[in-house]
Assembly symmetry: D4
Homo-oligomer: 248 residues x 8
């Protein structure tokens, strides 16, 4: 119901003033004692609300999973630890936990997947962040190609996989240390590159700041940056682009 439709119903007295006021003001979230579940998010943005598990109390987490599962039949959680995984898997035997990425999800079976997203990492230590990105994109129904350990200190490894990368609608470049992978990819492909700096490295990497600055200052075009270690954000954004490319 659009605002105009609602106003017309008020005029035609098929909708009471009180009801209209309520619609205009609230009803697009669900009040919980400790949170406000954003139940209109899927309509608004095309994505259901995702649970950021880190530091949530056990009982709260369980309740949130329960409510979201009831409404949508599936739930995506990120940054879950193994203790939280146990609690959710006990209550929902169909839940799956990937310890590497911290993804804890209940997923509908046989969902169709569309398009193609390439997830690349510079080194093996960047894989946890890459998996968070890849699994998020898959949950939201994108096909994902994983191309790991193709950092710029051995360019030939990247070169040998460049065709696969070029076929994707969107490339996610996950890199720590100096983060140069994003620039090199940006110069090679025609589709957007989402750069994810990671906190991998030591010394003057300052917990990922070094890679973040590298990526933000890239001399290549078509590079967009998300927060340090934010695999989830990259997977979400890549899915938006992939959906656009598939006319969803």
């Amino acid at each position: 119901m659009t605002v105009r439709e609602m106003l017309e119903q008020v005029r035609d007295q098929t909708l009471s003033v009180q009801e209209a006021e309520r619609i205009l003001e609230k009803e697009n979230y669900q009040e919980m004692e400790f949170a406000k579940l954003d139940t209109s998010r899927k309509a608004r943005t095309g994505f259901a609300e995702v649970v950021y598990c880190s530091r949530k109390a056990d009982s709260h987490l369980l309740e949130i999973y329960r409510r979201l599962y009831e409404r949508d039949g599936e739930v995506l959680g990120t940054r879950a630890n193994s203790h939280q995984a146990e609690i959710i898997c006990q209550a929902f035997p169909q839940a799956e936990y990937d310890a590497l990425s911290g993804i804890l999800k209940i997923e509908k079976e046989d969902k169709p997947h569309i398009g193609r997203i390439a997830v690349c990492t510079a080194g093996t230590a960047d894989i946890p962040v890459a998996e968070e990105a890849a699994r998020t994109a898959e949950f939201f129904s994108s096909y994902v190609d994983r191309i790991y350990d193709v950092g710029v200190s051995g360019m030939h490894r990247l070169m040998s996989r460049i065709k696969t990368i070029e076929q994707a609608n969107c490339v996610i470049a996950v890199a720590g240390m100096e983060g140069a992978l994003a620039s090199v990819l940006g110069g090679m492909v025609s589709h957007p590159v989402i750069a994810v700096p990671t906190s991998v490295g030591y010394g003057a990497n300052f917990h990922g700041l070094s890679a973040l600055l590298t990526m933000i200052n890239s001399c290549a075009n078509g590079i967009a940056v998300v927060n340090i270690d934010n695999g989830y954000g990259a997977g979400y954004l890549a899915t938006q682009i992939n959906r656009l490319a598939c006319q969803v």
Copy 2:
């Protein structure tokens, strides 16, 4: 000609070894005394090389415009000052200069435009960066809607334009000071938001660092960040997304 095709021609001796070696190694850029024009860029990335005018010597600038114009029939330059504009406009009477954004271009007439990109700014001081983004996207054949001065200190201004924004394939959010516009937009639309922090502000904004950190740390999803004041980069990335959405 793919690598495989070239190798087949060598085998069939329709291509000499010397020629093949030359193809494999160079020939995809044009050596100038002072630069290497990246002439294979359009084939590789779908975008012709763009001229970053800032601090280029007059004679170099003129020569670069001449070569690119000869090959492509049009040239896009960014960060040009009025002196540079005079020089180029004298040599190419059809060149156009926009002093606000610093865009100095020679453009083919009657180019078709596709899709839709929304360019929003928080305040009026952010408009120069927004225009760099908008004009870049237009040069690369995207339709652009401009929605300026809709910062979060007066949310109703933004609310009144939200329908236009939602119709775009991609939204560019240009904001300085605390840069909250990107987060608010990210929570409202279903398509990607490209956030451009600007150096607008004073005091502890540290030349745009404040807005950059805000945008990188956004609690909303679907937000990608480019460099401070990098309107060109945002326009380029938005075009990539817009083209994907239009199946180009």
Copy 3:
């Protein structure tokens, strides 16, 4: 007219659906070619829109002053330079310009003033920022006491004026260098202290960062901090508090 009242008029058909839609969505700002004047701000926040003059084009500035003057009969502008002052004073002979603070205003005569705000500075170099604060508060109808040059390197100067300071509903502490004035005041008075770090100093003051960090980390209670050199923001906030204290 509240939302409820408007909806009732729609129901009673004394207001058309189109009109109601227009009211709900726009009409609370004034579209200009280059900006959106926030004309509902006074109703929303109790303060009319203020003009941040810095970097505005001459014609835009004049037009904004004209529109605001027509509606409100007075205009407050900040960060104006002498060239802008000339332009405005020529068009509005009753306009006044204070070069020290950059305040350029047209003010109604004989406005009543209420309450009391104390504006203190650590040194003489902090006075321009303090004047921006004081004149903003005065424009918004607060009485202001100025107590300048009472920095902590000579505590007796501050001590001799402490009674005046204690009588104010709100104290503004303007200080650069190490910014210790705010902490000392915070320990002495019972009302809120608004701390304004200034960029006054040299070396490791990093354009005001030093004073900002000092004030944010103050061991004293009742201290709130605004941006570096943001006298206007402090004057605005102090007025809000002063009005509350005077039951306005």
Copy 4:
């Protein structure tokens, strides 16, 4: 006794020189072996001294609570851990401990409360800091409304509660990540907004620096910032403003 009164008593020899000297110089704090209890603070600032429990030795903590309780009949402690809570609750059975906020207090019964303060958070992870603010304000006799989980990524949640927020004399905005909540609130309400950046977030939030910079650089007016995670400071300042508004 004012300075003048004291001097008159000296002149009239109803007060000895030694006594007057003692009054002028000390006696407004209580020397403990390990600290100087600021016993004149309530007279000076309207608030009794509050105990910052973190890192205090057990015996010191107990002794400080004992002395303050003897004098005032109540004690407010912040940043207490569960071990410290056990020690104090054993000695003072009427003491109450809130593990979420770390508030450990002994409070007089049936204190009257005045005015109204709104405490808002962007997310659920910001609640501990918000509770420190709310409970501090309540201890100092303010009414508090809690409006939690209304961050800008879902603006409708905030919109539905805006009337409650507008009725408060002072709004506390608690937010981590990019901290945009303060700016949005600042543009909506007419009373002061106290912004509390939190260390909630990851990656480039740099332990709250990101939210701090956002809030300090806010484009909205009427926003004052306290230290990262400093709920206590915000509750104290809000109480000062609330008291002024209630003519206390």
Copy 5:
């Protein structure tokens, strides 16, 4: 007159209450329209007030020099530019200006000098800061030895002058770039080393931050650091130490 003496006079009625109140509260500074001259500073600290000329208005500067000269018969000004020097030298023909250090002073003739302070620089570009230090110390009656251009990239230059340096009561080490001079001196001499980082250098020296961090983190003992380029502060502190060593 001590507080006790004053109180005794009040008791004995040789001093009126009004007069005593005035003494207790003010009279130890001189109110000017634009500043509060700290006239009790010499009594309190042993040093007369010094004029920080930078950014002072011409008329204010002249008035301050006039008042200080009347009271003390001499004036020390720092950070004066050549325009300010002209104004002061015209009014006070006996004034002297050193353009290198920015010192603009009127000095009593034939003042006795005491002790010995060594002022060392790493390079020639550090000399302006060193001269500010040296001339400040000389104005306050210390003997000064200048040992310039003895940076650690040629240790033999420093070694050849080490005896002179060791004879001083206090050593001032002025260095930019990496600022290693302070550490080397600290390991060689038995008296305090005052380290002055300078903004000399380029690239990652960040306007003196590099030298400041070097000096603060020195592995040598007996090193105290003042602000970047703060020659005046070093000269002041060295004089305090030199006076102590000479039992002044």
Copy 6:
């Protein structure tokens, strides 16, 4: 033996060339397997080498204490933990350990003390650093006055002790959070103030950076800064100044 004396002995053949070469080049430190004990330090600087215990292996620590004790009859160690204290106290029953400051020392009995140093802290949490300073100064034979918990949020506490502070040859100001104590002391006393920033605080204090910047930027004169939490360095420097004042 000076260089000249040595050369004269070579000329007179009372010293062999080989021996002179050895003297010129080495012999002023003691080679250990894992370190080079700087045995000429006392002659060079007036202070014996001090042991920085942190992270030293048990066997190395014991051996260093043994060698230094043999040569000097006493040893000062800093940053020792309780495990290290046990090891040293077992081997040297006369050793003393102060857990608060981490000082672990073997000290000659009945050493005479001279002069006077005042050690002040802003709060009780700064006491560990202050004790490191005080005990270092005492070990090196200075009298020390401790004035703790006199921070600027309650100026009267400081005022009541100001006479004691003024009598010292040197004042050490230890403060965390915003570190304003040093500035206030610098404006009150005539002798040098050594400012020690501490890492006490939370939020935007950034592990002491806030206090460090405050102190480096102090508007008061006569303030020298040492590293964050570096009580030892302050005690050392204060002793140098105190010795000079006592003509040692």
Copy 7:
């Protein structure tokens, strides 16, 4: 086989097109499930791939050691912990582990060594990083001289060893705190100095940033800097230089 040779074989049909394509594109790394071993690195750079052990899973580590050992007969690992050492030493009894530096290697016997590299440290706490550098250089067949604990607070210790240092083809200077050692060495020797900042220190050293800035800003020539604590990188680079000097 060069590109030209390969193309000639294709022309002569002694090499198939498929095979040539494969050679051009891949085959210079070894695909593992979790990584891409860079097997062409030795040919390309003269150094076999080195294993960065930190955070590698046990099974992955073992497999990597096995593959590299099979191909090269030796393996160099860095940043290994004792648990990893146990696993590798059990599988390869000839493996050696140095707990101080974290080097875990299997090395061919009786490798010849060449040239000379001097590894210097400022203090004893810098030795772990220095050993990582020294052992890396030795593994890659360089002779190494260790000169430890020669920091600038006791210059005579460095002076006594300067001849040994001057004989090396390359000097590695390892220092934390203020990192001045590199500058002093740079002014003394004619060969390159590789500066390694370490995270040794406390307070404002910011985990090595202080030493890094010192070294990058050195006033001496011939100094190159690697990452904080990056002993391995320094050893690698020194070996490159040493090999050049020995005409390898």
Copy 8:
């Protein structure tokens, strides 16, 4: 004359004690009124002193060139502006000035050159820094290959020149923005790569900090970093390595 030889002459009385003392202490630099020319530098380091022209007074500059020319017959100056070039070229008609790099030199004719250094830049804006490096290396007798504008956004340009680069004894990589060129080169060549971050770029490059952090954190081996824009330092270091490779 070595120290031993000198001591033997003293013993044999062919050298006076006074003379020997003088030799031991000074004479290896030349005292000028404003500087200490380091005349023993060539003997000590193999390079004559180089003049850093920036901010030197005209008369000082001329005198320094005169003295160095007299002793060595040639002079290398860096960071000279055109005014300084005029002054020197008037006095020394054989002097040459390169405005791009700021190199102002008087050079002996027909000097032999040795070895090979490759100087690469990422973009055309990096060329001034690269020329400073190249011309420094050439002055010190190295052959130099210039490979400009081969940044990673167009990898094929770099690939086509890789053979030339591999033949050099040392590679200088000059890059601003994100500075990824150094990492890519480090992964490709077997000789040392000297990375020079430049201040080229805008926004979050923070005057070269971005490129500096990228290069310091490089995942490739064999990379050493010099200061931002420090072409001279890179040319000097490359010459040291080139000389070693040529057995000079």
